[in-house]
Amino acid sequence: MRKLLLVMLVLVMAAAAFADPLDAFKDLEGTLDIAGGTAHIPVMTQAAQDIMTFNPKIRITVAGGGSGVGVKQVGEGLAGIGNTGRPLKASEIEQYGLKTFPFAIDGVALAVHPDNPVKALTKDQVIKIYSGEITDWKDVGGNPGAINLYGREDGSGTRETFTDKLFGKGELSPAVNVVNSNGAMKTAIAQDKRAMGYVGIGHLDSSIAGVAIDGHVPSQENAASGEYFVVRNLFMNTKGEPTGLTAAFIDYIYSEPGAKIIEKSGYIPLPKNN
C-alpha cells in the first residue's frame, strides 16, 4: 500500500513537472541582462532566481538605474530587457525600435487607522499634509490631534509612485517618519490612531483603512479598471521582437508562477497583449 502511494506521488510530481512553465528554459543557455526601474527589481530577481535554479547554465543579471537607464540600455543593446515604470515615449520607440510589454499594475493607497473618521481627502489636502502645511487632523475634518506622518525610504518604488502621481517634484516634509517595507508601514499605521501613510494596494487589509483621494477609492479592482489614479503600469521593453532566452523570460513573467511573484511583490499582474 505504502509503495503504491509512493509510486503515485512520484507520478503526480512528474506530471506537475511536465506542466511547469520553467520547462521552456530546459534547453536554453546564455546570459540575459536586465536593467531599469527599481520597482521591478523584486519581481525580476525572484523570476531570475527560479530560472537559474532550474537551469544553472542560464545567467540572468538584474540591475536598477531607473526608467531612463532602462530605455537607454536596452536601446543601445547593453541589456536584453529594459524596464520602465512609465509608458515609452513615441520618440523612444522610433529611435530604438522598442517593443513594450506591460506586465503589472503598481497602485499605491493612502492609508489611516481603521478608527480614524477621515476616509476621504482631496488631492490638495494630501499634498499639504505631506509637505507639512497641514499638521492637525482637525483641519481635514478629523478628531483634533497631530497627524503622525509615515513614508518610505529613498529608492522605494511605492514612494516613487506615490510622490510622482501626487507631488511631481514637490518637497516632502522632513518630519515624515520612514519605514522600510509595506509590512512595517502596516504595523505602524495599525497601531497609531493618528497615523497617515501609504502602502501598495495589494497590502490593504482590515488592519488599516484606505483613504479615497478626490473620491477615487483605492482597491485592486479600481486600480485595474483605471478608476483609481495613483497607479502606474510596470513595463518590460525589448529592442525589436524578443527571441530565445529573452522571449522565454517574458513568457515566464506572464505565466502563472510569474503572476504569483508579481502578487507577492505587491503588484497586480496583467495578462499578455493587453
Binding site: 503622525n148 529608492g155 520612514v178 504595523t187 505602524a188 497601531q191 497609531d192
Partner: protein, 297 residues
C-alpha cells in the same frame, strides 16, 4: 580573572588544534595572516570608497544638513548628530544600569538575587537584537505614544532599548574585574572591619576604574554600530533632533534604509561616506578600549 580566562582559552585552542593536526603552528599562523589580510582589505576598501565618495560628491553637499533627493542635496549631518546623541544617551543609561547590576552581583544583594540576575543577563546575551526591536514596536512604542505624545518612534524609545541591549556585555566586563579584585582584597577589608558595601564602594570600584571605563568604551562602540534598533524604533525622519520625542535617523539606519539605491548616485555616495565614518569611529573606539584593557591587566 581575565588573565586566567584567556589562559584557559589559549590552552583549549592549543589542545583542539593539536588534536586536529599534529604540527599546526605554521598552518595557524598562515590562517591568521590571511584572515587579517582579508579584513585589512575590507577596511581599506570601505575607507577608500568613503574618501572617493567625498571627492566625487563635491556638488552634492554630502556633509550638509539638508537631504532632498529631488533637489540633489544628500547631506548626512543630521544623521551624524542622531548617531552621536543616540549612542551617548543610551550609553549613559546603560552604563549606570550595568554598574548597578555588577554591584548587585558582587555582594550588595543576597546570593540568590545575584544568581538570578546573572541568569537573566546570560539569557539576555542570547536574544537577537531584532527581537528587542520587534517586542519594543508592540510594547514600548504604544506606551511612549500614549503617555508622552508624538508617534512613539523616537530618540527616547530607541535609546531605552539600546541601553537595555547593551547591559549584559558591559555588566560581564565589569563583573570580571570586580570579582577578581574583591577576591584579592576581601581578607584585608574584613580585617579592617569594613562591610561588604563599604568594601565594594571604597576599595573595589576605585581599583576597577579602568575596567569600568573600558566597559563604557566598548558599549559606546556597540551603541554607535547598532543598525536594527534605530531603524525599527527611532522613526528615521531626516532632521535635527531637538527633543527626546523627535524622530531621528542614525547613520546605521540610513545605510540599512537606502541600501537599494543606484550605484554612483547621491544616495549611494552618502552610504559610502556613512560607512567610512562609522568604521573609522568604531575602529578608534575599539583600539582605545583594547589599550585600556591591556593596561588594566
Amino acid at each position: 580573572m581575565t588573565r586566567q580566562k584567556s589562559h584557559v582559552v589559549d590552552e583549549r585552542t592549543r589542545a583542539n588544534s593539536s588534536f586536529l593536526i599534529p604540527n599546526s603552528s605554521f598552518l595557524l599562523r598562515a590562517t591568521a595572516l590571511s584572515v587579517s589580510a582579508i579584513l585589512g582589505t575590507v577596511i581599506a576598501f570601505i575607507v577608500i570608497s568613503g574618501v572617493d565618495a567625498l571627492i566625487k560628491g563635491r556638488g552634492l553637499s554630502l556633509f550638509g544638513a539638508v537631504w532632498n533627493s529631488n533637489a540633489g542635496h544628500f547631506g548626512i549631518l543630521t544623521m551624524i548628530q542622531a548617531s552621536i546623541l543616540l549612542a551617548i544617551s543610551s550609553l549613559c543609561v546603560g552604563w549606570c544600569l550595568s554598574l548597578g547590576c555588577c554591584c548587585v552581583m558582587n555582594g550588595l544583594a543576597p546570593s540568590f538575587v545575584a544568581n538570578f540576575l546573572n541568569l537573566i543577563l546570560t539569557l539576555m546575551t542570547a536574544i537577537p537584537t531584532v527581537v528587542y526591536g520587534f517586542a519594543a514596536v508592540f510594547l514600548l512604542v504604544p506606551i511612549v505614544r500614549e503617555a508622552l505624545g508624538g508617534t512613539g518612534f523616537c530618540w527616547l524609545t530607541a535609546s531605552m532599548i539600546l541601553a537595555l541591549q547593551g547591559v549584559p556585555t558591559m555588566t560581564f566586563i565589569m563583573d570580571g574585574a570586580v570579582r577578581t579584585i574583591t577576591a584579592e582584597t576581601e581578607l584585608t577589608a574584613s580585617a579592617l572591619g569594613m562591610t561588604r558595601a563599604q568594601h565594594l564602594s571604597r576599595i573595589v570600584l576605585p581599583i576597577a576604574r579602568k575596567s569600568l571605563i573600558s566597559a563604557a568604551i566598548l558599549g559606546l562602540g556597540r551603541a554607535v554600530g547598532d543598525a536594527l534598533i534605530p531603524t525599527m524604533l527611532a522613526g528615521n525622519a531626516i532632521r535635527f533632533v531637538k527633543t527626546p520625542l523627535d524622530s531621528m535617523r542614525t547613520l546605521t539606519a540610513h545605510i540599512s534604509l537606502v541600501l537599494s539605491s543606484d550605484i554612483g548616485g547621491g544616495e549611494h555616495l552618502s552610504l559610502l561616506l556613512a560607512g567610512a565614518l562609522l568604521l573609522t569611529f568604531c575602529a578608534v573606539v575599539s583600539l582605545i578600549s583594547r589599550r585600556m584593557m591591556r593596561r588594566s591587566n
